[in-house]
Symmetry: C2
């Protein structure tokens, strides 16, 4: 067990328990072996009980004491976010578009009949936690501190299938390297299994969306693919997402991404890529995208690039797309000629405070700590 | 905290910690106020780590100590079962078709890329737990001990979106009265929201299926309905389930239920009702059932009864079905003339050992305890 000391937050009644035994010397920041296996020293918790948020606190990262009738275990009320903090050369800390995550977790919460989190609790908890653990943010280009806010239903004393009355909101964080599954991906257009239904929760970051994707993904991996490219569950003719990424296609000199709808997550990285592309003068389209357009583009050589993007992965391009048993290779462009990697660099340059921030995406984190 | 004593199980290395301070005097078995708010004194736990099941134990019901990176919180790997134990007049205890629940939890686990539970762990844990807590099984007709086995992903040290390596299987139980939402239900045919997608996990008891239904159900309740009647997500022309129940329609002298498929849970109560109806010589059909057939049947007066069934509710009939803003009333039959209630009584009679058991559904629980 860690020994702790108590201090009090400067602006609101958030209790803070700081560890006296940091684990930071356990991690080699020049070689962060895998994503999400070292957690920073502290975590933020806040409880929703009897209709109100209370007991906000920061404490040493560790286990929680929770009832087996917590409804998250039984009825899946759980939503989360993924976001990042970056350092610049002067070790100033920046969060990237944190209010987008704040807005989206509440959009997810509403669809799962969970309480929304007040902006003050989300933002103050986030800022104070990352400030306390700022030494955990890696310094190198492409590295970041990955931040995981999540909201779960806990025990309200009744097991029946209904929304819980009580909830726990937490924020934890983990240092992240440039996170590639691989340099480039081989993906399979999925026509049997589905990620989401129209009228369902595909547009949310509901935990259940992920569990249901693991088995189809395993089957694809057994066939030699890295990921599936999801299509709509009704007709399997419309492109949705790939794995946990939004997708882009550079087709006939247009950059096309499936329009975010009730089946598709509105990705913050995706929206940022769209803005960066538009600013460059690229012809960008957000619209329904048919599988047949992709296959025709691959056959005719007018599909030049395809890539996925998301907070964890940033950008990852595809080298092969497989459809109904046939593998189609994408052009083997040099990295310098890839739109995907240029947009990625432009995004990382903003995140690391190496370029202008015309969209106001950087959120500078002031130092509060004593 | 409860004081405990240790004894050892007779047949396998299951550790047993019995409470010395039962809470059974806190519950009035003649008036069990609400479903799932009193839990029996003990719970069963077993862990899956490093590819094997271990640490099976029965201990006093209470909180668990779990990491915030348990993947159930983030990626929704959680499946469960609902089952019941009954007493007969001599206070002999019977489980109802427990091996069906055993098979189904593993079917759910496979689809969510979770390990299957060995039959010995499921059945020995279940039998020993219910035996120890047999005083918690109510005695009156229609009452039972509701049993909740569930399997959740825990912390395997890595947060990334992939199946967990480590899992926790638990069984808890709660005394249940005859569980009616209401005597009869007013339901709404849902055409906007969906419960499941083709190629999805609707056929499993995955926790995420329930969370996604709460918001549409809330909207229906705000309109004055008790539940929604789910239709297929692609066309909204085919009937699926209602709330957490399978559904039956007594239409043109045939008892019709939507065929269990990848969108529809294969309900154990549903299958039992089907068998009982067939045995009576009722013309039973399991097939695709169109919304239009139901609406035509309501308009023409050839739909005489409609009802939902499930482990918790047993059978609950519908008095009103609403479609596109129009409420259609079902015939106001006396209870004695209702097929739904006759089948319910036949089922309860078997469950309480008041009638023959031609299908071999009762599972007599021997007394092991000292």
């Amino acid at each position: 067990m860690y020994q702790t000391k108590i201090e009090f937050f400067y602006c609101c009644c958030m209790k803070i328990e700081k560890t006296l035994h940091s684990r930071i010397d356990k991690i080699n920041f020049n070689h962060i072996s895998s994503f999400g296996n070292h957690f920073s020293d502290h975590m933020f918790c806040s409880e929703f009980r009897n209709g109100e948020w209370k007991n906000s606190m920061i404490k040493p990262f560790g286990n929680i004491w929770i009832s087996p009738i917590s409804l998250v275990f039984h009825y899946g009320q759980a939503v989360f976010e993924g976001m990042k903090a970056y350092k610049d050369k002067n070790e100033e800390v920046f969060l990237f578009r944190p209010k987008e995550n704040f807005k989206r977790i509440n959009k997810s919460a509403i669809r799962l009949e969970m309480p929304t989190i007040p902006e003050s609790i989300f933002m103050n908890g986030l800022k104070k936690l990352i400030d306390i653990d700022r030494d955990w943010i890696p310094k190198n280009y492409g590295q970041s501190l990955y931040i995981r806010p999540f909201l779960i239903a806990i025990d309200d004393g009744v097991l029946s299938a209904k929304p819980s009355n009580d909830y726990l909101f937490m924020i934890i964080s983990t240092p992240a390297d440039s996170y590639y599954y691989k340099d480039s991906l081989k993906i399979k257009i999925e026509e049997k299994y589905s990620r989401s239904a129209s009228g369902g929760v595909g547009f949310t970051k509901a935990s259940g969306n992920y569990a249901s994707s693991f088995y189809p993904t395993k089957l694809a991996k057994e066939e030699g693919f890295d990921q599936v490219l999801w299509t709509d569950s009704s007709t399997h003719t419309l492109i949705e997402e790939s794995g946990t990424m939004n997708v882009f296609f550079w087709l006939k000199n247009k950059l096309i991404t499936p329009q975010a709808n009730e089946n598709i997550l509105s990705g913050i990285t995706c929206n940022s890529i769209l803005s960066l592309a538009k600013k460059e003068g690229i012809d960008v389209q957000e619209r329904d995208l048919r599988v047949s357009e992709i296959i025709d583009g691959l056959k005719n050589g007018v599909l030049k690039e395809a890539f996925g993007c998301g907070t964890a992965v940033v950008v990852n391009y595809f080298k092969t797309i497989s459809y109904q048993g046939t593998d189609f290779s994408l052009p083997d462009l040099p990295e310098k000629k890839r739109i995907s990697l240029r947009l990625k660099k432009n995004l990382l340059d903003i995140q690391h405070n190496l370029s202008e921030d015309p969209f106001g995406w950087r959120f500078r984190l002031k130092k509060f700590s004593t």
